[in-house]
């Protein structure tokens, strides 16, 4: 139970129950879909970028608590951020979950550090990173569907 609480932290369960920015944008400038073919999770991320700043960001889709909370907290943390800051957040988040040793600057991720415990659940890392990969695909401008596999 203790290690399960490392994964399912209160803040994660809260975002799963009441996801933020779970909607569509009226005027998205970028959009991309991420799918995890192993489980059928899918998330669509929409962003409105103006002057290299994220004016608005939202997501739609269906998935497990980890992917839904990750999408919710990602959108909540990136609104108003510059594209450079978004890229840096992606890098830090990705390293937190996939680097051989967890980076020392996890705290700089703020609330997103709640996902640090996902490292201990290898089969769930892709759930947490799926919305971030969709976000990146949207920002790269390809808008292509990204897949975890």
């Amino acid at each position: 139970m203790a290690d399960l609480r490392d994964l399912y932290q209160e803040v994660i369960l809260d975002h799963d129950r009441a996801p933020r920015n779970f909607r569509t944008l009226a005027h998205p400038t970028r959009r991309a879909e991420g799918i995890n073919p192993l489980c059928g999770d899918r998330v669509t991320v929409e962003i409105e970028v103006e002057d290299a700043v994220v004016r608005d960001i939202a997501f739609q889709g269906s998935g497990c608590a980890i992917s839904k909370a990750s999408a919710s907290m990602m959108t909540a943390s990136l609104k108003g951020k510059s594209l450079a800051e978004v890229e840096a957040a992606f890098e830090r988040f990705h390293r937190m979950l996939t680097a051989s040793a967890p980076p020392a600057d996890v705290e700089s991720l703020g609330k997103l550090a709640a996902f640090a415990g996902v490292r201990e659940f290898p089969s769930r890392i892709k759930c947490a990173t799926l919305p971030w990969h969709a976000l990146r695909s949207a920002l790269m401008g390809t808008g292509a569907s990204v897949s975890t596999e």
């Binding site: 609480r5 399912y8 269906s62 998935g63 608590a65």
Partner: protein, 418 residues
């Protein structure tokens, strides 16, 4: 633990699952500090010591290539490999050993038929009939065949319980139907398909039938002559045998006209640069060095299963499935997906408000192995309006204790997501 269940003959048969468990060394271990509760046999079954020993014995004493050596080891390997073929023949009650073609698994068996029979007998405007229950491996090869030949895929609907609509099936059979391909038991829902009726209806119109038996063979007696199916295919690893070996059964008159599938060694009688003379069945369809050890391991697995008595296994599992069904129906917030009257092995379900993946992760921490996701049957998930289910699947080594552990695990799920 012992469950008494009425046998088809009306006798009470005792089946000693506790003794059966001892035959499977892997089941004795702890995982994540808890005793392993293995409820994922529809994905792959565990292997009895008899199978593991047969594989080791083959490599320790008999290993050689088959059908080509004059030396003793090659004779032994050939005899063991062909002995395994005869073992499968008896298991399925096929008329001839040459009707048993060794393949990698069910997927390869279906692809073999799609690419050979499909190539010679399915053309533009023709139709292939499958059901809405199929595993992706009994959908995609036919879609590929349709794309290549201009044929059309027709799908028999299922009802809310997960049963095949036989009236709709009969209506779909027509002049253009060139093949019916259907699962014997649904991997996602556990529905036992009335395959005998479907075969009889197809044969009235002289339409051949391929049966995907992957989820059936470990749980019930399969008699291909009594079913009268044209093709039957299954995977060794889902019937206590090794991975990488499977069987395609075909009636002689169905296999004989098939063109060669893969070219190579063992499938030929003679080769020159002008002309190749192909070998006889079944070797014509088995190019290259086969999975000799796998076939021998499969033979040992079938020996083991027959030793348990398939009728007893089926009766025991039926009682265990009923126990599990009742337990899950009584669990709060749990909804069973797939409630056909006749089911085997599979308990597919969703937990209200908790995604299947999260259920799977929490159960795993309790030492309980289940499958979560779409089970390679995405159209089935769509039909029931769920993105994924949790699937607990049983084999003859499972007991009521495993079901009880699952129910306790679901209480932990509710605690985490309270």
């Amino acid at each position: 633990m012992t469950i008494s269940a009425p046998s088809p003959r009306g006798h009470a048969l005792a089946f000693d699952a506790a003794r059966v468990r001892k035959d499977f060394p892997i089941l004795g271990q702890d995982v994540r500090g808890k005793p392993l509760v293995y409820l994922d046999s529809a994905a792959t079954t565990q292997k009895p010591a008899a199978v593991i020993d047969a594989l080791a014995a083959y490599y320790l004493t008999d290993n050689a290539n088959v059908h080509r050596g004059v030396h003793l080891l090659s004779e032994r390997a050939t005899e063991a490999y062909e002995g395994a073929r005869r073992r499968v023949q008896r298991f399925l009650n096929a008329a001839h050993a040459h009707e048993i073609v060794f393949v990698r698994g069910t997927t390869e068996g279906i692809n073999l038929v799609a690419q050979t029979y499909g190539q010679t007998s399915i053309g533009p405007g023709d139709e292939i009939v499958i059901t809405a229950l199929e595993h992706h491996s009994n959908i995609v090869p036919w879609q590929m065949r349709c794309q290549a030949s201009g044929a059309r895929l027709r799908v028999v609907p299922i009802d809310d319980a997960g049963e095949v609509d036989l009236d709709a099936y009969e209506r779909l059979l027509g002049e253009r139907t060139k093949l019916v391909a259907a699962a014997h038991v649904s991997n996602a829902l556990g529905t036992v398909v009335p395959i005998e009726t479907m075969i009889a209806l197809a044969h009235r119109r002289h339409i051949p039938v391929l049966v995907d038996g992957a989820q059936a063979v470990a749980h019930m007696r399969v008699d291909v002559r009594s079913l009268d199916c044209d093709f039957y295919t299954f995977s060794g690893h889902k019937v206590f045998g090794p991975t990488g070996i499977g069987v395609l059964y075909g009636k002689t008159e169905r296999l004989e006209p098939l063109p060669p599938w893969q070219g190579g060694g063992d499938m030929i009688k003679s080769v020159s640069f002008e002309r190749t003379l192909y070998n006889d069945l079944p070797h014509r369809l088995e190019a290259g060095t086969p999975h000799i050890a796998g076939a021998i391991g499969l033979g040992a697995a079938l020996d083991y299963l027959e030793g348990l008595d398939l009728e007893r296994v089926a009766a025991y599992e039926e009682a265990l499935l009923a126990y599990g069904t009742a337990a899950l129906q009584a669990a709060p917030d749990v909804r069973l997906v797939g409630t056909a009257r006749h089911k085997a092995s599979v308990l597919s379900f969703v937990v209200d408000g908790v995604h299947a993946h999260d259920v799977g992760t929490i159960l795993d921490r309790e030492g309980i192995a289940v499958r979560t996701g779409h089970h390679c049957a995405m159209p089935v998930m769509t039909r029931f309006g769920v993105p994924a289910t949790v699937r607990a699947s049983l084999a003859c080594y499972n007991t009521r204790d495993d079901i009880d552990a699952l129910v306790r695990g679901l209480e932990v799920v509710r605690e985490v997501f309270r």
